[in-house]
Every structure is written in structure tokens, then in C-alpha cells.
């Protein structure tokens, strides 16, 4: 390990490379692009939660003047269910081909059934209305309990669980020790059941793309996604166009949070462009985003924890049922795998059940599944600590996972920073501060911890020295949170030059090597590895060039402060050769200077965080507000502290929304009743306090700069921290999210009614 010390740029709050374009309105997001001859695509969507599609007649739509192409599922490459899984990352193409366009059945309101391209958006919309779909409306279910009833309508008849057709489409478990024996040792056992509602990632930029297909099949895609290579591969699979013919250009992305790790529009627009011979632009409305793109699961979890009187957790059992939506694939891995991981629990069983129901297919959302599981576990731990009369942070410290702890999902932990996060939370000014007077409102404080796996995986980078001695770095990951700023810091640090001389761009699929999704908190971890190795190769080249010029051994040349210097025994014999000078001499000295590295990166350590939350509750109206918040996290090494803090603060804000107000509300007809920002109620600026961050830096020993993923952990503890704070304020525990005003009032009034009875 070669940790860089005495950093000049690593750890500095530099100006992000894409910042200027974004503050001046120049940045090109997917919906900002146009092409000559461009036409517009629109999607016809199912109005029914569950319906067999008997037939689709597009003839009237095709005859409408201005309509240039119509596509239905017949145009999409089929992946027959009986032929088995065709996986692309975590997505099974059998479900993807049915999600982008319903085949035999429409499985949720908003499920695409056809798409039209026309010369204007209005004509395309009008044409959609002229498409006649003959539906056989079927019974449906949305909530987990309904989907699990013995007589529940089955979404996928082929699926069997316990030998019977079922909506349970997957199960996994993590096991350690023997929970039966473990619970026998416990002096206190608490078991609770929790529910959470589906919530949306809530990115402000709707999905959008512009696609051109030339007569020879060469396809260019401009789109907003968390992975241009994912866009290329999925589009290739679903349209039959070879990947080598598809150039997917990553537009700036206006937020993703996991929700843009799959495609919705690109295969449809590609087929429309191919059929019409015209570039096709598609932009979702906010309503389409809310109805048809991936929220995360609603859930039902039961968590049982047993502890001894002295505060040791001896056994725990978690059962997590998560809504997958229309197709298999809910994040049970995160729920079952992350929830107990901050703790060293000798006897543990953590089970996840993947449940299909008639709502849109879930997509990843920031630490997928982990916040759902942590909500249940961390609330139960708060109760156990209270029953044991222990400070909740002391209780966590006593049971904390440390170096050498074996996690139930497999790994034995190397040096991790969980304990440090709890200690930092405990010694924070926030935890020491009195709650203060609520002026008639009740105040409370809660804490919670969280874990996320983090990820490595495939990344590619090309680093080139320009003819004038500056640097261009190309990586393959869409930048959703400031990763370009981190890369500029690292590259500048290694080369010993001003960070402003490093230009960082995101390459398209045909100009940079394969790079996996921006997701899993992997981007800076993985891309800085390939950028570091590329830059080190360049430095080696630069040393060789200087050695050649000086006619000394390359080993006797050192690279410092942006220049080659003769090292002992030649120290001081030659004037240093700067990057500019070596670039200028490059043509004569062996040619252009550049290096690319492609790796399947390994060694991404998990991330831990511990949060402290203060709330204030207006008991008459049931309104809970977060008035102070501190997020503590082991961030490995904060390459750009501003954007690390930004990840923490953004994750916390999303969690506060999830805890207090955000939820999908359904009508009696099974349709989303709040498909817009007005009634979906994400936190606005005046809803939140400042969000304090404490970055604990325990460098990742397997990474050249010590980087750990930071993006996902900060959402994991939040709902439990808020719930525990509300309990502290009210003396009553909530077992369901969101803790919205009518529900708070209902809860507060419930015992009074019981007493009166």
C-alpha cells in the first residue's frame, strides 16, 4: 500500500471540472440535446394494474398525419421465460424485455404497451390515444399482505414457491450460529414488526434520450443514465443491434440515486428511430416517472433481538418481505445482508423474501434494501437498549463489529471504522448538547447506525498528456455526485501539478473501455484505481523519457512537483524537466504520452455510519420536524471533502423524507394517486436543518488513496434515527413509515381511546 501523504490536492475542496457548465446553464443533460430532423416519441401505457393483452391495433395511429413509426412488444427481442435467466449485472433480460414493453400481460398502471414517434409531441400523444388495446382485466394486488394471500392473483403463473404458484419470487438467507440456542441465552427478547411504504428516488431530471439510427444500423444514443455501457448492452439485447454499432453517449445526469441503472426509453426510441429513419427524442413527464419508473420496495419486516442483562446481543432473527413490483428483483440482498452487519452477533438468521405485486418494477435506490432492514433492526436495538437501561450508543459499542468479526453474509472484516463512528457520535457536540425547550413542542433525540457493502468491479480509464503538457483523463462512469472532482484531485496529486491542468471527462461507450454502472458507491473507489495505475504508467514513461534525454538510468530519475528530477547519484546534475517540456519533446522521444488501464477492481470495503437526530413534534397537529442532525461516517479517505459531505447530507435528506412524508399512495383502482412532486412530498429547503457531518477517516488498506465508497451508507440509518428520536419525544413507538401528521395524531390518540373504553 502506498498511501499518499502530505497531500496538496487530495483532501482539498477544489472546483469541480463540470461546475462552470452547471452554474451557467451550459451543461447538456439528455433532454437538452437536439438533432436535425428530430421527431418525438411517446409511450402508451396500461391504465390497468393487471390485464391480459388480447390484441393491439395500431392501424389508426399509423394513419394519423405526422406519425412516423409505431412499435409494440412484437418489435422488442423476446427472452422467453422458460429458457432461463439472461443476466446483465443484476438484471434478468427476461424481465427487462417485459418491463420496457408489456408482452402478454400488463402488470401495473403505467406499463408501456406501445410507443409512437411523430413530428410533434402533441401528434405522438394523439396517436397513442388512437391505438386500440383489447385488455382482459384481471384481479390485482399491490400490498405485500394482499400478494401473499392464498387466493391472491398471481402475476407470473410459472413461478412456484413451496410447490404452489406464488408471488414469492425469491428468497435468500444469511445464517450464523444457531438462533434457537442463542435466544435461550437471552435475558431479554424483543420482537417487532415494521412496515415501510414504497418511495421514489426522486431525481429532479425525468428520464430522457435522443437516438439516431443510421441506415447502416449505426446507432447513437444520448441519454441520462447511471451507465452508458448498461444503456448500450440493454439496448443491444432488446433491439438486436450489435453493441459495436451502438455508441451510447452519457449526457449529464440530473440525479439517479440508483433509479437510472436500468433503461426504460432507450430500446423504444432506438426501434422508433430505426423504423422511421429519423432521430427520435423521448422525455418522460414527471407523472410517467412516478408511475412507471423504479421506486424502491414497500416492505414488511419482523425483527427479533435477544440480549443478556450485561448488554450482549446473543441472537437475532430478521425476516424481510420486500415488494419487487411487477417483476422479480427486490433488494432483499441489502435488507437481509446489511441490517445486522454493524454488530457482532453469534447467532443470526436474516431472511429476505422477494414479492411480486402490481406496481412498477423496483429499481435500485441508494443502498438498495439496506435502509429498509436497518429501520427495523435499529428501532428494535433502541428498544433493547432502553430495556437494559443502556445508552443506545454504548449498547452499540458493546456489540460492535470490529476487525476480525465474521459478518453473516460472508466476509471476515479487515480494519473497519464502525466503532470509530459510534465513538465520534458519542463525543460529538450534538450528542452532548441539551435538547432544549421546544416551546410547547416535544423534543427527542435518536441514534442509529447503518452499513452498506460498497462495490468494486469493472472500470477503465485513459490518461493522456496533451501536446502542451496538460492532462486529459477519460473515465467510463457517469458523474452523479462529484466524482470528476475527486479524480482531478488524485491525478493532480500524483503528477504534482495544479488540479486545474487536469481535465476530467466521461467517455462514451466507443471511446473508453468498459466501465460498470455508477452505483454501489463504487465510482470513485474503482475509477481512482484505474486512473492511479494509468497515471503511474505515465510517470514511468516520463521518467524514462527524462532518463533518455539525460542519458542516465530511468531508476535514477524521480518524479516530483510536476517534473522529472535526477536522483542520486546524479542529483543536481541536470535541470529538472517539467511535464510541459517532456510533452513538447514527446514526438522526438518516442511519441505521444498516455496510458490506459482496465481492471475488475477488488477490495471495496464496506462502509459504516452512525447518526444522531433531534426532532420536535407538534403534538396537536402531529407534525414532526428534524431540528438537528449529525451524520458520522467512516469515509476511508475524503478525496474531496465537499462532495463527501454532500453525499452524507443528501442521503440524510432523502431519509428524512422517507421517514416523515414520502410514500406512494394508491387509489382504490390500484393507481398511484400522488404521481407528482406536489403530493409525493419530498423535503423542501425549509423542512430541513443544516446537516452536520463528521467524517471519520480510516483509510481502506486495499486502495491506493484509501478510498471507501460513501454515497449509500448515509441513507441507511436515517429512518431509524428519526423514529427513535420521535419515540424519545413522545414516549410512543412507531412501527410504520411514514410518520406523517395524520398517523402521528392517530397514534397519540389511540391509548386515550383505549383508556376511555
Amino acid at each position: 500500500m502506498n498511501l499518499v501523504t502530505n497531500n496538496k490536492w487530495i483532501g482539498q475542496r477544489t472546483i469541480r471540472p463540470d461546475g462552470m457548465d452547471k452554474v451557467t446553464g451550459r451543461a447538456q443533460f439528455a433532454a437538452d440535446t437536439t438533432m436535425p430532423g428530430m421527431i418525438w416519441g411517446k409511450v402508451l401505457r396500461s391504465p390497468h394494474p393487471h390485464a391480459r393483452i388480447r390484441s393491439i391495433d395500431t392501424s389508426k395511429a399509423e394513419k394519423l398525419p405526422g406519425v412516423k413509426a409505431v412499435v409494440t412488444s412484437k418489435d422488442i427481442v423476446d427472452f422467453p421465460i422458460e429458457k432461463g435467466a439472461v443476466m446483465l449485472g443484476i438484471q434478468d433480460m427476461r424481465w427487462m424485455c417485459r418491463n420496457v414493453m408489456a408482452r402478454d400481460k400488463a402488470l401495473f398502471p403505467g406499463h408501456p404497451v406501445a410507443a409512437v414517434a411523430a413530428t410533434t409531441e402533441a401528434i405522438a400523444e394523439e396517436a397513442c390515444k388512437l391505438i386500440e388495446v383489447d385488455y382482459e382485466v384481471l384481479p390485482w394486488s399491490i400490498e405485500i399482505d394482499d400478494a401473499l394471500k392464498p387466493d391472491a392473483p398471481i402475476l407470473h403463473e410459472f413461478n412456484k414457491f413451496d410447490g404452489k404458484p406464488s408471488n414469492i419470487v425469491g428468497r435468500l438467507e444469511h445464517k450464523k450460529g444457531d438462533i434457537e440456542q442463542g435466544f435461550k441465552q437471552a435475558d431479554i427478547v424483543i420482537e417487532r414488526t415494521f412496515t415501510t411504504r414504497p418511495v421514489h428516488q426522486g431525481y429532479i431530471e425525468p428520464h430522457a434520450c435522443l437516438i439516431s439510427v443510421a441506415p447502416d444500423g449505426k446507432t447513437t444514443i444520448w441519454s441520462s443514465s447511471q451507465g452508458q455501457f448498461m444503456v448500450r448492452a440493454m439496448t443491444a439485447y432488446l433491439t438486436g443491434i450489435p453493441q459495436s454499432d451502438i455508441r451510447a453517449i452519457p449526457a449529464e445526469i440530473g440525479g439517479g440515486f440508483g433509479g437510472k441503472t436500468i433503461v426504460y426509453l432507450e430500446p423504444l426510441a432506438t426501434l422508433l428511430a430505426k423504423k422511421s429513419g429519423r432521430p427520435v427524442k423521448m422525455v418522460m413527464t414527471r407523472e410517467e416517472v412516478m408511475r412507471a419508473t423504479g421506486p424502491t420496495s414497500g416492505s414488511k419486516s419482523t425483527v427479533k433481538v435477544g440480549a443478556t442483562k450485561d448488554g450482549r446481543i446473543v441472537a437475532a432473527h430478521g425476516t424481510f418481505y420486500l415488494q419487487a413490483g411487477a417483476f422479480p428483483g427486490s433488494p432483499i440482498r441489502g435488507a437481509a445482508g446489511c441490517s445486522f452487519t454493524p454488530y457482532d452477533i453469534p447467532n443470526l438468521l436474516s431472511e429476505g423474501y422477494d414479492v411480486c405485486s402490481n406496481r412498477s418494477k423496483v429499481a435500485a435506490y441508494r443502498a438498495p434494501g439496506a435502509p429498509i432492514g436497518a429501520y427495523a433492526v435499529e428501532c428494535v436495538l433502541d428498544e433493547v437498549a432502553e430495556a437494559l437501561k443502556m445508552d443506545p450508543l454504548d449498547f452499540r459499542l458493546k456489540n460492535a463489529a470490529r476487525e476480525g468479526t465474521k459478518a453473516a453474509h460472508g466476509p471476515v472484516f479487515p480494519r473497519i471504522g464502525y466503532v470509530e463512528t459510534v465513538e465520534a457520535a458519542k463525543s460529538s457536540p450534538h450528542y452532548a448538547a441539551p435538547l432544549g425547550d421546544g416551546n410547547g413542542k416535544l423534543r427527542g433525540r435518536g441514534t442509529a447506525s447503518g452499513f452498506w457493502f460498497n462495490a468494486g468491479g469493472e472500470s477503465s480509464a485513459q490518461v493522456n498528456i496533451t501536446e502542451d503538457g496538460n492532462v486529459v483523463v477519460t473515465t467510463g462512469h457517469p458523474d452523479i455526485g462529484g466524482s470528476r472532482a475527486g479524480i482531478a484531485n488524485i491525478c493532480a496529486e500524483l503528477l504534482g501539478i495544479d488540479y486545474r491542468r487536469v481535465s476530467v471527462i466521461i467517455g462514451d461507450t466507443q471511446t473508453v473501455g468498459f466501465s460498470n454502472l455508477t452505483g454501489g458507491s463504487r465510482v470513485l473507489f474503482a475509477s481512482s484505481m484505474v486512473v492511479t495505475q494509468s497515471t503511474e504508467k505515465i510517470i514511468q514513461t516520463l521518467r524514462e523519457r527524462a532518463a533518455k534525454i539525460w542519458e542516465i538510468d530511468p531508476e535514477a530519475v524521480k518524479w516530483e512537483n510536476g517534473a522529472a528530477h535526477p536522483a542520486s547519484p546524479n542529483a543536481g546534475q541536470f535541470e529538472p524537466l517539467t511535464l510541459e517540456e517532456l510533452a513538447e519533446k514527446a514526438p522526438a522521444m518516442g511519441g505521444p504520452i498516455g496510458a490506459g488501464v482496465q481492471l475488475n477492481t477488488q477490495g471495496a470495503d464496506g462502509g459504516f455510519g452512525t447518526h444522531v437526530c433531534d426532532v420536535e413534534v407538534d403534538v396537536d397537529l402531529g407534525i414532526a420536524r428534524v431540528i438537528r442532525y449529525t451524520a458520522v461516517q467512516d469515509v476511508g479517505r475524503a478525496i474531496h471533502p465537499g462532495y463527501v459531505e454532500g453525499q452524507l447530507q443528501g442521503g440524510v435528506a432523502q431519509g428524512i423524507g422517507w421517514a416523515l412524508n414520502e410514500e406512494y399512495i394508491y387509489t382504490k383502482e390500484g393507481k398511484v394517486d400522488n404521481p407528482g412532486f406536489l403530493d409525493y412530498r419530498m423535503p423542501v429547503c425549509s423542512d430541513l436543518p443544516m446537516i452536520d457531518c463528521i467524517m471519520v477517516e480510516i483509510p481502506n488498506p486495499k486502495h491506493p488513496q484509501g478510498v471507501k465508497g460513501v454515497g449509500e451508507v448515509p441513507l441507511v440509518p436515517v429512518m431509524a434515527a428519526v423514529a427513535n428520536a420521535i419515540y424519545d419525544a413522545l414516549g410512543k413507538r412507531f412501527y410504520a413509515l411514514p410518520m406523517s401528521p395524520p398517523k402521528v395524531v392517530e397514534m397519540l390518540e389511540a391509548p386515550t381511546r383505549q383508556a376511555a373504553e
Binding site: E126, D620, G622, V684, D687, S740, P741, V745, E746
Partner: protein
């Protein structure tokens, strides 16, 4: 696809003529913050839009000879906030108008549009009802006046006759010791539609309420004037018993629905809570002025 015509007349007579002629296909455009949303979502496809913002009377704020105010129907919340004296006399009406949407929306949205949109949850309406505002409307058959509480007919509907345009609100002169307040319950701090809204206007003398009006929003198909609540307040010193009685009157007046924004039980409870809080603020303002 129906063709849309946009008209921006300079006089009220022209506007009324065009609006009446176009019949049910026509819509009035003031701030447009409801109309454009309805058009974009496909709920409305008007054939004619009559923009009334070029008509001086509809964008004017005037102090009347008797000391009251006349506010043009298309005056935006921001413009009203910038008026020198209006907010001092009618702080409750002003805060209600400026709870409609964001600052961006307040730059456009008007009390006239809020009323004519016919939503039972419009924020300015309970405050206007509490204020005892009279509206002037003009149609093909000339001008008439209505009590503001008589304008809404139900969700999305008004009692304006075909071709009639809302011209202005007239707020009465204020006796000494008068003030008003508006509070609403929303789950967030901003940007929501009221789950319950409550406007209270009071006149006080030596700590005793001599006149009161209470308007309640989002708890029935139309905004309510709750006379029983006002009666409970009048003659009292806003003691706990009087406030409790007024709060009960508000809760009793509610005929709410369960919807995505709130439950029946919650709205009924909150109506009472808000009455107490709003009355306290109005009283504090009324006595401060003395």
C-alpha cells in the same frame, strides 16, 4: 387537436365580450398557476384564453374612500405584499395569499384565481371569507357584487354566471382594535395544499371580542364561513372556554373527505386546533395595534 386562441384585451368590456362569446371553451388567465397545470396535465383544453393582466382595474390595489381596500382579481401575492399599507391592515389576508405555492408562484398567483379555481383548499379563500370581502363581478349583463363565501359552488365550480369575470375584492374598513390571521396545516413547511386552512378576523375592545368572523378551508366541498365559531368568540376575552367552544364549532362544521392529503378524523381535529391558534394570533395583532 383544438386550436387555442390567446387574447390579452386592455379593457374589461373587451374581456367580458370575448369571454362570453367563447362560451364554455374559454378560460380566464390571471397568474395561470392553476390553469397551466390543468392544461399540461390534459384536464383542460381551452379554445380561448383571455389574459386579464393588461386591464388596469384588475391589477390595481386601491384604498377606498371609506378606508377599505379594493384589490384587483389578478393582483399577484408578491404585488400585494409590496403594497405599503395593505399588510398592516389585513395581515391575515396577506399571509394567506402568500401561502399559495412557492415564491415563484406568488409572483403570479392571485386571490382572484385562487377563488375562481374553486378548490376548497385555496389558501386565500378562508382569509377572505373571514375578512368579509365582497367581490365585484362583471358579465354580459353588467356588474354585480357577491359575498366571497357565495362564490364557490363546489370543488372546481363557482356561482359566477356564464361570461362573468371576477373583477375585484373589496375589503371593508377596519375599526380600531381589528386584525386577522390565517394558518393552515400542511405536512411540510411549504409547497403543499392545505389539509385544513383557518382564517380568523377579530375586532377587540378592552380585551373583549366585539366582532369576529371565521373561515375554514379544505374541510368541506366549499370554504366555510363558520358563524357558530364566531359567535363563541364574540363577547369573550378569548378564554379557554370560549376558544374550546369555537374550536368545537369548527370541528362540527367540517364535512371533510378522506384523501391523499388527510383523513376525516384528522381534518376534524385539526380544524379545532387551528381555530385556537389562529384566533390567538389575530387577537395578539388586534391588541398590539391599540
Amino acid at each position: 387537436m383544438t386550436e387555442l386562441r390567446y387574447l390579452a384585451p386592455d379593457t374589461l368590456d373587451e374581456a367580458v365580450g370575448a369571454f362570453a362569446k367563447a362560451g364554455s371553451a374559454a378560460r380566464i388567465l390571471a397568474g395561470g398557476t392553476d390553469l397551466l397545470v390543468q392544461m399540461r396535465s390534459g384536464v383542460l383544453k381551452p379554445g380561448v384564453i383571455v389574459d386579464i393582466k393588461r386591464i388596469p382595474e384588475l391589477t390595481a390595489i386601491e384604498q377606498t374612500a371609506d378606508g377599505g381596500f379594493r384589490i384587483g382579481a389578478a393582483v399577484s401575492g408578491m404585488a400585494l405584499a409590496e403594497h405599503e399599507t395593505f399588510g398592516k391592515v389585513w395581515p391575515g389576508v396577506l399571509e394567506a395569499v402568500n401561502l399559495i405555492g412557492s415564491k415563484q408562484v406568488q409572483g403570479r398567483a392571485s386571490a382572484g384565481g385562487n377563488l375562481c379555481n374553486g378548490s376548497p383548499a385555496g389558501d386565500s379563500v378562508p382569509a377572505m371569507v373571514a375578512a368579509g370581502a365582497i367581490v365585484t363581478v362583471q358579465g354580459p349583463n353588467g356588474r354585480r357584487e357577491m359575498k366571497v363565501e357565495d362564490v364557490p359552488a363546489g370543488p372546481g365550480r363557482t356561482n359566477l354566471k356564464p361570461g362573468e369575470i371576477l373583477v375585484s375584492f373589496t375589503l371593508p374598513p377596519r375599526p380600531p382594535g381589528s386584525s386577522d390571521a390565517y394558518l393552515r396545516m400542511i405536512p411540510r413547511t411549504e409547497m403543499d395544499i392545505a389539509v385544513v386552512g383557518c382564517g380568523v378576523s377579530l375586532t377587540m375592545k378592552d380585551g373583549t371580542v366585539t366582532a369576529a368572523r371565521v373561515g375554514l378551508g379544505a374541510v368541506a366541498p366549499t370554504v366555510l364561513l363558520v358563524e357558530d365559531a364566531a359567535k363563541a368568540l364574540i363577547g369573550s376575552k378569548l378564554d379557554d372556554a370560549a376558544l374550546a367552544k369555537a374550536a368545537s364549532a369548527c370541528s362540527a362544521a367540517c364535512r371533510p373527505i378522506d384523501d391523499k392529503r388527510g383523513t376525516i378524523a384528522y381534518r376534524i381535529k385539526v380544524a379545532g386546533v387551528l381555530l385556537k391558534r389562529t384566533a390567538a394570533i389575530a387577537a395578539q395583532r388586534a391588541t398590539q395595534k391599540n
